[in-house]
Amino acid sequence: MIADWSHEVVLAATILSLFIIGAGLAQTTIYLLQLVVAGYALSERPPVARSALLWQRYGDVAPPIALLVPAYNEALNVVESVHSMLALEYPNFEVVVINDGSKDETLQRLVDAFKLVKFQRPFEEALAHQPIRGLYSSPMTERLFVVDKENGGKADAQNAGINVCRAPLFCVIDGDSILEPDALMRAAQPFIDDPERTIAVGGTIRIANGSKIEAGRVREIHLPRRLLPLFQVVEYLRAFLMARLAWSSINTLMLVSGAFGMFRRAEVVAVGGFTKGSMGEDLDLVIKLHRHMRDKKRKYRIQFIPEPVCWTEAPESLSVLARQRSRWQRGALECFFRYRNMLFNPRYGRVGFLGFGHILIVDVLGPVAEVMGYILIPAFWLLGILSAEYLLAFTALIFTYGVCVSVCSLILEEAELQRFPRARDLAVLTAAAVIENFGYRQLNNFWRVKGWWQYLRGNQGWGEMTRTGLGAAKK
C-alpha cells in the first residue's frame, strides 16, 4: 500500500513521524534518567523519620523565617489556616498574611479572630507593589502580622510581604494550603547545612482531597475518592519525587513551587522579587535567581527536598483542571520565551543546557508533538503511508513507557519514603498509574496545547479556581 503514495508524501510523513517519535523518545529518555538520578539521590539522603529529633538537632541554630501567606477572598478558611500556621513547630518564625484587596470578609475575619490592631512597622520599600492600606498586629501573638493592601495579584502580594518581613529567609505558601507541623524545620535544613550557598528550597506538595482534616491539620491520610484527583496524586509524585529531586541533585532545579517554597530574602530582593502579572511567577523567580547568581559568578544551591510536605486541594472537575493546566502551560511558555537567551547559552552552564533544554523538550515541544502524534501517526498508518512499526513505537512511547515512568515514581516513593499509610493505597495508586496513561494523559496534553494557543493569542487571564476548601468539605 505504501507504494500507492507518492514518494514525497511518504517522505514528508516519515520525517514528521520521526520528529514526533524523536520528541517522545527525548522526553522518555529524560524521564528515565531522572528516575535513576532521583533514586540515587534518595538513597544517599534518607529522611529523618521523627521530627522531635530534628528539633533537638537544629532547634538552636535554625534561622528566623517569615511565612508569607497571600490571601485573596479566603474568608472561608483564612482563620483556620492562620491558626494552623501559628502552631507550626519551629523556634523562630512569624506569619505575615497579605490581604490582597479581598472583596469578601477576609480581613474582618482576621481582625475579629486575632483581635488585630493597626500597627506601624518600619520596613524597606525594596520591591514595588500596590499601596499598603495598613499593617496589623495581634495582641494575642507576636508571631502574626497582617498586611492589608490594594489588589495587585499574587506576585504583588508576595512582594509586599517580602518588604514587610524581617527574617533573612521567607517561605511562601498558598492561603488555602496546609503545612505539616515540621515542614519549616525540614525545609530549613539545607539553609542550616549550607547557609552560604543555599538560596532556595522547595518541598513536596501533596494532594489532600479525601484525607481527614481537622483544625487545619491533616489527621488521617487517605487517597482521593474521585478519579481525577487520584490521577493528580500520581502526577504530583512524578513531578516532585522524580523530576525535581533529580534536577535538584545536579543543581538545575528550575521550579520551586509557589505553593510552598523557602527563599533567602536578600537574593530575591536583588532580582526584583516576583514578576508581577506573570502566569508562572514561581518558575520565573527561580530562573531569575539562576541567572543572577550565574551572572555574578557566585556559588549557590537551589534545592528540592522531599520530606517537608504542604497539602493542597486538587481540582476535582475537568473544567477547573483544564484552566489550571492551560495556565501552567502559558506560564512555562512565557518564562521560556522571556529568558530564551539562556537556552543552550554556555554562560549559564547546565541551567542553560539541561534546565532550559528540559523546558524546551517537555513543555514547549512535548505537548504539541504528542497531540500531533495522536492524530497523524494513526492516520498515516490507516492511510497506508507508514508501516506498523511507527505506530507501535509511538504507542510504546505514549502508553507503555508512560506506565513504566509512573509506576517507577511510585516505586521510589515506596522504597524510600513510604508516606502512603496502607498497602491498599499502593495497589490503588499502581492501578491509577497504569490507567492515567489511557485518557487522562491525552486530555492533559490537549489542555496544554490549548495553553499554547492562548499564549499565542496573548490571553493572560488566570481563570476562576473554584475550591471547596480543605477544612470544610472533606472531613
Binding site: 529523618v48 529529633l53 541554630v61 493597626k118 506601624q120 512597622r121 547545612d193 507503555t400 499502593l426
Partner: protein, 345 residues
C-alpha cells in the same frame, strides 16, 4: 522502531512486578509494625515501672525480649526525659544489655540518617567505648553530616580532638554548616583558647571564624574583649562584623573609637553591626555618627542606626524627632518610621 516497543514492554512489566513485590513487602511490614508497636509499649511500661521499683533484672529481661531496634529507639526517647540518678540507673541497665554496642554498629552500618542519630545516642548512653566509636566516625565516615554529629557528640563527652584537627576531619564543605555553631556553643570553657586560635586564623573560612567569635562572646565574656577589639581590624568583613557584635556584648574601653571607625567601613554588614553594638552598649557619644548612618544607602544600616539612637532613651528620641521634622530625606523618613513604630493609637 521495534526495539522501542520491545524495551517499553520489558520495562513496564518489570516496574509492575517490582511494585507488586513492594506491595507484598508493605503487607508484611504492616504486620511487623503492629508487633513493634506492642513491643514498644511493653518496653516503655517496663521503663516506667523501673523508675518506681528499680528492679534492674526485670527491666533487662524486657529489654532483651524486644528487638534491638525497638529497644534502642524507645530507650533513647525515654532517657532523654530523665535526669540524675534515675537516668544513670537506666543507662547501667542498657549497658548491661549491650544496647550501646548495637548503637555503635548502627553508627558504622546504618544509612546517613541512622548514623547521625546513632552518634547522638552514643553521646547520651554513657558507654565506655563511645568515644572510640565516635572518633572512628569523625575520622572515617564518608558523610560530612555524620562527621559533624560525631564531633558534637565527642565534644559532649569531653573527647573532641584539637579543634583544628577535628575541623580538618569534618572537611572544607562541612565547615560551611551552621551545625558548627552548635559545636562551638558546646565547647568547654577550658578549651576556649582553641576557639580563639581558630577565630584568628586568616586561612580559615570567615563563616567559621565568625561562629567561633560568636560562641566566645556568648560564653567567654569580658575576658576576650581585647581579642575581639583586635579582630575588628581583620580583612574579612564577616569576621569584623562578628567581632563588633561581640564587643557589643562584652564592652571595651576603646569601643567608642572602634565603633566610630567601623561606621565608616565600606561593608554594610560591618556598619550595621557597629550601629547595633553602639545601641547595645548605650554610647551617646556616638549619636553624631549614628545620625549620619541614618542616611546610609542600605536600609538595614539605617534601621540599626535609628534603633541605636532610640535605645539611648530621651536624648536619642529627641535627636530622632529633630531629624524627623527636618527636610525630606532618607534620614528624615527613617526617623519618622522608627518613631511611629508600634500600635496606632
Amino acid at each position: 522502531m521495534w526495539y522501542i516497543w520491545d524495551l517499553s514492554i520489558l520495562l513496564s512489566a518489570l516496574s509492575l512486578v517490582i511494585m507488586l513485590v513492594l506491595i507484598a513487602r508493605r503487607l508484611l511490614q504492616e504486620r511487623w509494625a503492629r508487633a513493634a508497636a506492642d513491643q514498644r509499649r511493653q518496653l516503655l511500661t517496663a521503663l516506667i515501672a523501673f523508675t518506681e521499683n528499680r528492679d534492674r533484672e526485670a527491666l533487662k529481661a524486657t529489654v532483651l525480649a524486644v528487638p534491638a531496634g525497638v529497644a534502642i529507639d524507645a530507650g533513647f526517647e525515654f532517657i532523654s526525659l530523665l535526669r540524675g540518678e534515675e537516668r544513670d540507673d537506666v543507662l547501667v541497665a542498657f549497658n548491661e544489655c549491650g544496647l550501646p554496642a548495637r548503637v555503635a554498629r548502627q553508627l558504622r552500618k546504618g544509612n546517613v540518617a541512622e548514623r547521625i542519630h546513632a552518634a547522638e545516642m552514643l553521646a547520651a548512653l554513657g558507654w565506655e567505648d563511645a568515644s572510640a566509636s565516635l572518633l572512628a566516625a569523625l575520622t572515617q565516615d564518608r558523610s560530612r553530616e555524620v562527621r559533624i554529629a560525631a564531633a558534637i557528640a565527642l565534644c559532649d563527652l569531653g573527647s573532641l580532638p584539637l579543634l583544628g584537627t577535628a575541623l580538618d576531619f569534618i572537611g572544607v564543605a562541612g565547615q560551611r554548616s551552621r551545625r558548627l555553631i552548635e559545636l562551638f556553643r558546646r565547647f568547654p570553657r577550658s578549651r576556649f583558647n582553641e576557639l580563639a586560635v581558630h577565630a584568628s586564623r586568616v586561612d580559615a573560612s570567615p563563616f567559621i571564624r565568625a561562629a567561633a567569635i560568636d560562641a566566645l562572646a556568648h560564653a567567654g565574656g569580658f575576658g576576650f574583649a581585647d581579642f575581639f577589639a583586635g579582630l575588628t581590624g581583620d580583612a574579612a568583613p564577616e569576621v569584623v562584623a562578628a567581632a563588633l557584635r561581640a564587643l557589643g556584648l562584652t564592652g571595651h574601653a576603646e569601643a567608642p573609637a572602634i565603633l566610630k571607625r567601623a561606621m565608616a567601613n565600606d561593608d554594610w554588614d560591618v556598619r550595621a553591626a557597629a550601629a547595633e553594638s553602639a545601641g547595645r552598649l548605650g554610647l551617646p557619644e556616638l549619636a553624631a555618627p549614628l545620625s549620619r548612618l541614618m542616611d546610609d544607602e542600605v536600609w538595614t544600616v539605617r534601621y540599626a542606626a535609628a534603633n541605636a539612637l532610640r535605645s539611648f532613651g530621651q536624648p536619642g528620641e529627641r535627636l530622632l524627632r529633630e531629624i524627623a521634622s527636618a527636610e525630606v530625606s532618607r534620614s528624615q523618613r527613617t526617623a519618622s518610621l522608627i518613631l511611629a513604630e508600634g500600635p496606632v493609637l
